[in-house]
Amino acid sequence: MKDFRSLKVIDLFRGLFERAGVEYPIMRRIVEVKLTMDGRRTPTIFNQQGRKKEKPEENGFMKSLMMYVILSVMLVPIVLFEGNLLFQMSLFFGIVMFIVMTSMISDFSNVLLDVKDKGILLTKPVGKKTISAAKMVHISIYLFFLTAAVALVPIGAGTVRHGLLFLLLSLLCLILMDLFIVVLTAMIYYVILRFFDGEKLKDVINYVQIVLSIMIVAGYQVLVRAFSFTAMEISYQAEWWQFLLPPFWFAAPFQLLMGGEKNVYLLAFTALAVIIPLVSIFIYIRVTPAFERNLQKLNSTGGESRRKERIWKQWMAGAICRSKEERFFFRFADQMMRNEREFRLKVYPSLGMAIIFPFVFMLNDIQINSYAHLITTKWYLSIYTAGMMIPNAVAMLRYSGKYKGAWIYQTAPVKSLAPLYSAALKVFIVNLFLPVYLVLSIIFLIMFGIKIFPDLVAAFVASVLFTAICSNFLKGRLPFSESFADANASGGVKMIAAFLLIAVFIGIHYAVTFVPFGVLLYFLVLLGVTAFAWRYAFRTIWDAH
């Protein structure tokens, strides 16, 4: 175990902890162990042969921080821009909150919801206070690095531009924001834990995690729209609903103290920025015991929950699967994908993004022109961008929380595992992609009119083709056979490749709309290519075992 520098910093506060009744050496040790574990990934036992044994200690978290630092450069102009500080800073805090909170929910829920800890730590002579303190320190360290990664560059630039007061205010507001985020996350879990139990609870948490990550994206859109881009200077009008958006609270002190503007709204926002996090911490401490008790529900198995065999699913399996093997693999993959929370957690948020993406692109056009203008254009082609989620989702197909069960493929007397791949991909299209696409199609049809129907169908076929292409990410790996712990968090390269490919599709489609019957022709060609690609993939990519 290596020496953690962050712990040396914590050492400075040793006295404080001890005065609060925490056994410091033990707490330090617990945090040290937690940090060590965070830095490691579970080696996949199933695939251990043929792979390098223990990889050198590499910290996935620290690597992902670098991504955030690079991303944060984007924020620099927002901070530097000459204009309304309230606007700039609420945008800044909005984005920072978004990144920190999604990261908190997706990567750190297991710390907030850890039940293993209880069995291991509580059976030892360690006080509850010490355990809570360890948990707190662990989360704080994580948040510190995360926030620092996102905010360091912009805050640095802002300090050079606006002076020391800016630095001071930023640090203060970021700390308050972090407090707020931790408590908010924990409170959301608490409320859910109160009303549900066992399996149901995990499902609900799962869905809330998904919905929340989608909502934050949507909220960010609202934030941008709170100001009109055209008159960036001072077109901000304080309105009551802005009370509901925390980024405004944290931005208010900047405008108040540095922007030289004083009004009731700014004062109220500033007050909220200070009071809400502190009050919420207080409430959090009060409900923690109840929270911990409810956490135990995570272990209990709920009553029977029978899922009805869906008739249309059976029909679907029969309609799109050719062989018997493929049909039962279809059923299997369907059940795996629907039941597995970890899978849903990793993939569903991107489904939400897929719904939002096409509109994000269109919003820019509305911004410049108007809605009336938009619906006369070919912006409906932005439906292709829903496919942005395909590469990551397909790459995720090979993971499972219960990946160890994959031995069943090897022991079962099936000739080829290729049907498993095609079935898994078909389930992905039917269960995940199609619903999203249908929702989008309906909205688009309402917006652009029935005339785009052929285009939508063609774009769907293109997405299927795209899925087959993306199945290259699965090459040599069986579906549901690897641990999520091995999943690479960053899909950066894949996303860029996907974006380029989608751009190509859009380009071709755009071109054919100028040709009479071009879309129909395009559709037929796509159909042929897709059928060929699917069969080709079946033989080459999937049948590698």
Partner: protein, 265 residues
């Protein structure tokens, strides 16, 4: 003799212990005194409340009624000192398996207030005796079930506890290791350690226990040494006694049904 006197010392005492989850009653009044040096075989069908009892004793479960005394003191949230004298092997192998055996074991030792060096040495020696010295620096995640179990057993004994709770401790161990472990238990008991042994494997319980407690539907259905139980129930083996007391006599019928369904294809 003084030894006999100390063996009369009550290590653990449950009085009218009741516990329920919601409307489901798990324990319906357990009364039990355990003396030093006893090996208690704690048995019962699934869902009888064995693990719940152990969890309450370790302070993992609250909200019970009745009194629970360990080493003569009532347990409570504040009183955690007694846990320092307890070793615990949980039924489900819960451990931080991203750590190496060395990291995990020294961590546990330190949680018990032991020194790092001393724990390290001790853990290494114990691993060596179980034939795992090679694996000492490997991550537990890569261990087989038996190896994990050995790590758990070692982690429960590092701090030389006076009272041991073992919940299905033999799962995954090979026959030789089982034999070694049984001898270890006998030796520990003769040194005055008290062992609370919970298992479904009746043969082992029958052989090692000095006292057997059978839990059925949240109540103690039988309590005594194996010989005593045998006299009372006129059955040959603990397994048969178990079946008799829990009112289970359909094993043959069920087995026949099962096989006939298997053969249908």
């Amino acid at each position: 003799m003084t030894i006999i006197e100390t063996h009369d010392e009550i290590v653990l005492s449950l009085k009218d212990l009741k516990k329920s989850y919601g409307t489901k009653t798990v324990l319906q009044g357990i009364n039990l005194d355990v003396r030093r040096g006893q090996i208690i075989g704690y048995i019962g069908p699934n869902g009888a409340g064995k693990s719940t009892t152990i969890k309450i004793l370790l302070g993992l479960e609250g909200d019970y009624s009745g009194s629970v005394e360990v080493f003569g003191e009532e347990i409570s949230e504040e009183n955690i000192e007694y846990k320092g004298r307890i070793g615990y092997v949980p039924e489900i192998a819960e451990l931080y398996d991203n750590l190496t055996a060395k990291e995990y074991l020294t961590f546990v030792g330190e949680l018990y207030g032991m020194e790092f060096r001393k724990t390290d040495l001790k853990a290494k020696q114990l691993m060596g005796i179980f034939g795992l010295e090679e694996a000492y620096h490997s991550r537990i995640a890569s261990f087989s079930k038996g190896m994990r179990q050995k790590v758990l057993i070692i982690s429960s004994l590092l701090h030389n506890p006076d009272l041991l709770f073992l919940d299905e401790p033999l799962s995954g161990l090979d026959a030789n290791s089982v034999m070694v472990f049984k001898d270890i238990l006998a030796k520990l008991a003769s040194e005055g350690k008290t062992i609370f042994y919970s298992s479904h494997i009746m043969d082992v319980v029958e052989k090692i226990s000095s006292r057997i407690i059978l839990l059925h539907e949240g109540k103690i259905a039988a309590d005594g040494s194996f010989t005593e139980l045998k006299e009372r129930n006129k059955e040959g083996s603990l397994e048969q006694i178990f079946n008799q007391i829990t009112g289970f006599n359909e094993s043959q019928k069920i087995a026949e049904q099962f096989v006939s369904i298997v053969q249908e294809v």
